[in-house]
């Protein structure tokens, strides 16, 4: 693909920074997209683990009916914090912040993103937002207890610290917008010579589609949050009916952002799937155009389905029917992607290494998540299942089974490139297998409980749900073990792993054309793109690079 050669003794970006500062400051003030990506990785992983620990406490409380461990108020703040952390601090910034930052410029053959300083600012803003969330836990009033959706009137009336917590979400939104802006510009301006839009790797396509949603949808939540804060502070009456406002208006504004946000979460993951399958099947992707264009279709139609979260809110029947119809339509491009991925395995030469196994787990879990979404898009069934455990199962299958699984797939795929080290393959395989079993044990019972009428956000439950709740809690312990193995393997490899070559998997996109880890400016020589992104005929030449 490129005729760059790799000089043997180049310094990696770990050894050479963008500023004179050294040590931690050399990181915190670095405008190098790779260092920023790794800082996001550290921050997001930390919050992910905190979110998981909170969830383990929730599952422990739910192990049996009645009070087990904590009182109702504590439980309510814990599920809210779990949701807020997982959504705003982990999965929304998620893959773009970590892998987008690290790999977008590399895959385009660029030296950095278009605005490296703005990129660093985005990271700082993220950290400020995260600190605000943490502060909100300790100021008078107590931690927020509204659920991550902050529905009004409850969020205006509760005495807990809503304003600061949602202000944190407001701040985090800016980080998201600026990152999106940066990526859009980078994709338009910094493609290496020879790379047109339809020679871009599919991860770049999906990050690009995501960036547009980040820029266009996030301001809606920003404005909504400001209105809620004003309502709490000055009682201005936009949403609270006792002040003459309309609570349904709040729900519309909230979901106009938060539904597209679901696609901010999943699209980049789909991009990574489209990278991993060709590499391990060693053949070109099936249906490049279909996959690229379906990302744009999802980004666009994704704007038009928000009110499927409100089928029971008392909206007009016409609105319910229209939004149900559009929801079924938005399912189609995701289906197209799944079919193309499986077709990419046809007549390949498949080497199921750990990243590929993660992708296989993804295809099953994400398909379950997507297909159960059809049940929720359907009016007759959603009326019954809305706000039950069925929804809790559905969104964990999509967000955790979908995006979360691919977060690990990406980590296991690019770890050698990012850190220059290899991990333990057998242990990695065990990790995926255990994750898959634990996941289903943890969440599948929730589909059944939901259909049996177990509402969500319940501190306590009727005795008839006790058995399935217990199974789910046991699943959460297995999940904890799986996550320890998955993270532990990588952390251990940082210190003791074997050195990785520049191309351990035989990938052909541009990031495999440079050293592991790459040098400060990514490539030793100028890149000229001559091949399609998944043209494996260049593999022989690359060995001689």
């Amino acid at each position: 693909m490129a005729n760059g050669t790799i000089a043997e003794h180049a310094k990696s970006f770990y050894e050479e920074g963008t500023s004179k500062k050294t040590g931690l400051l050399g990181w915190f003030f670095s405008t190098d997209h790779k260092r920023i990506g790794i800082m996001y990785l550290a921050a997001l992983s930390t919050f992910f683990i905190i979110g998981v620990i909170l969830a383990l406490f929730m599952r422990l409380e739910l192990i049996a009916p009645g009070e087990t461990l904590m009182d109702a108020q504590t439980y309510n703040t814990i599920f809210t914090l779990h949701g807020v952390i997982m959504i705003f601090l982990f999965i929304v910034p998620g893959i773009p912040a970590i892998f987008g930052n690290f790999f977008l410029p590399l895959m385009l053959g660029a030296k950095d993103v278009s605005f490296p300083r703005l990129n660093l600012l985005s990271f700082w803003i993220y950290i400020v937002g995260a600190i605000l969330v943490v502060i909100s836990l300790f100021v008078p009033g107590g931690p927020i207890d509204t659920g991550w959706t902050f529905y009004i009137p409850y969020s205006v009336r509760t005495g807990t610290n809503v304003s600061l917590a949602i202000f944190a979400a407001f701040v985090l939104g800016f980080s998201s917008i600026l990152t999106g802006l940066n990526f859009i510009t980078t994709v338009h301006r910094l493609k290496a010579p020879g790379m047109g839009f339809f020679k871009m790797p599919l991860f770049v396509w999906s990050t690009y589609a995501t960036a547009w949603i980040q820029v266009l949808a996030t301001p809606v939540i920003g404005i909504t949050i400001l209105l809620v804060i004003m309502e709490r502070a000055f009682g201005i009456g936009i949403f609270d009916p006792s002040l003459g406002g309309d609570p349904i208006l709040y729900q519309h504004l909230f979901w106009i952002y938060s539904h597209p946000a679901v696609y901010i979460m999943i699209l980049p993951a789909m991009g990574i799937v489209s990278e991993i399958i060709p590499t391990f099947a060693r053949r070109t992707i099936f249906g490049y155009n279909a996959i690229a264009l379906s990302s744009l279709a999802i980004a666009f139609v994704g704007y038009l389905v928000w009110a499927h979260h409100m089928f029971t809110s008392g909206m007009s029947d016409t609105a319910r029917i229209v939004f149900s119809f559009l929801t079924f339509i938005v399912a189609l491009p995701s289906g197209v992607k799944v079919f193309n991925w499986v077709a990419t395995m046809y007549k390949g030469s498949i080497d199921p290494q750990p990243p590929f196994l993660w992708v296989m787990a993804f295809i099953v879990l994400f398909s379950i998540g997507g297909l159960t979404g059809l049940v929720l898009g359907s009016l007759a069934t959603d009326i019954h299942l809305h706000d039950t455990y069925f929804v809790v199962a559905h969104f964990h299958y999509v967000m955790f089974g979908g995006t979360g699984t691919i977060f690990f797939a990406g980590l296991y795929y690019w770890f050698p490139k990012m850190f220059g080290k290899l991990y333990h393959t057998k242990l990695a395989n065990i990790g995926v297998a255990l994750f898959f079993v634990a996941f289903n044990l943890l969440y599948f019972p929730k589909f059944i409980m939901g259909y049996q009428g177990m509402p969500r956000r319940y501190y306590d439950y009727l005795p008839e749900f006790a058995d399935l709740q217990l199974v789910s809690t046991i699943g959460s312990w297995l999940m904890a073990i799986a996550l320890i193995i998955v993270f532990g393997n990588l952390i251990r490899s940082l210190r003791t792993g074997r050195k990785a070559t520049s191309n351990p998997w035989g990938g052909v996109t541009l990031e495999w054309h440079t050293t592991s880890p790459p040098p400060l400016e990514n490539f030793e020589t100028d890149i000229v793109v001559t091949h399609d992104p998944y043209d494996f005929s260049q593999l022989e030449d690359m060995k001689n690079e």
């Binding site: 205006v156 009336r157 099953v364």
Partner: protein
């Protein structure tokens, strides 16, 4: 599934069965094909990979068939749902008021209860209103739910085919005792109901009220303006 406490339950369960049935077939199909490919085209077997860039015919087929499938799903679910929005004109009318954390049911003759008493086989029309935050009136056994929102009156109806007691849950998070906001629909023989309905106010079930004691020790709900 399908205890059939109301006709509508059968409708919902059959839509569910239809969508889940198709989904299971798709899921098993996708998974099986994937595993088959991974085994058949395993690198150990030393195949030379073939670079197939795509196939517009296949692409069209796997857009077209799912489109048709989801349209049928949409159609069935819409037909089923229409029943729910087809409000009876001569039903028993009950005003439902939700508060943190309990329910009050008020009948046309002024009777007030906190369980919902209804006659079997007779349409019941509910008018839902909240005095504080959002709640949601949910009877899992009837597969029905509608949010209860301050400042507006949402509507719901059902006709129960079977005498018995059914749980009412709150399905919209409403704070401290959201999970304890249970009540019952008590479906009675028509004669029993008529007798109960004619009784004077003194017999309304005061006793039930203490099942939802409102205490606000842990979460204080302040009116507005607290940062």
């Amino acid at each position: 599934m399908g205890s059939g406490a109301t006709q509508y339950v059968e409708t919902v369960d059959s839509v569910m069965l239809y969508i889940v049935g198709i989904s299971v077939v798709l899921l098993i199909g996708i998974t099986a094909v994937m595993i088959y490919f991974v085994v058949k085209y395993n690198r150990k077997k030393g195949h030379k990979p073939e670079n197939i860039h795509g196939n517009w015919l296949l692409e069209t087929i796997w857009i077209a068939i799912p489109t048709v499938l989801v349209m049928t799903m949409f159609y069935y679910s819409y037909i089923g749902y229409k029943d729910l929005r087809n409000f009876p004109e001569d039903g028993l009318e009950v005003n439902v008021t939700a508060r943190m954390w309990g329910w009050t049911f008020e009948y046309e003759n002024g009777k007030q209860t906190d369980s919902l008493y209804v006659p079997v086989n007779q349409p019941v029309m509910l008018f839902l209103e909240s005095v504080d935050v959002n709640h949601s009136f949910y009877v899992p056994a009837f597969r029905i739910k509608e949010d209860v929102i301050a400042g507006r009156v949402n509507k719901l109806h059902f006709t129960s085919d079977m005498v018995g007691d059914y749980d009412i849950a709150c399905a919209e998070y409403c704070g401290l005792k959201h999970s304890m906001m249970y009540s019952k629909v008590k479906v009675m023989e028509v004669a029993d109901f008529d007798k109960w309905y004619a009784e004077t106010d003194a017999t309304t079930d005061e006793t039930n009220i203490e099942t939802n004691p409102v205490d606000s020790t842990a979460a204080e709900i302040k009116p507005t303006g607290e940062m």
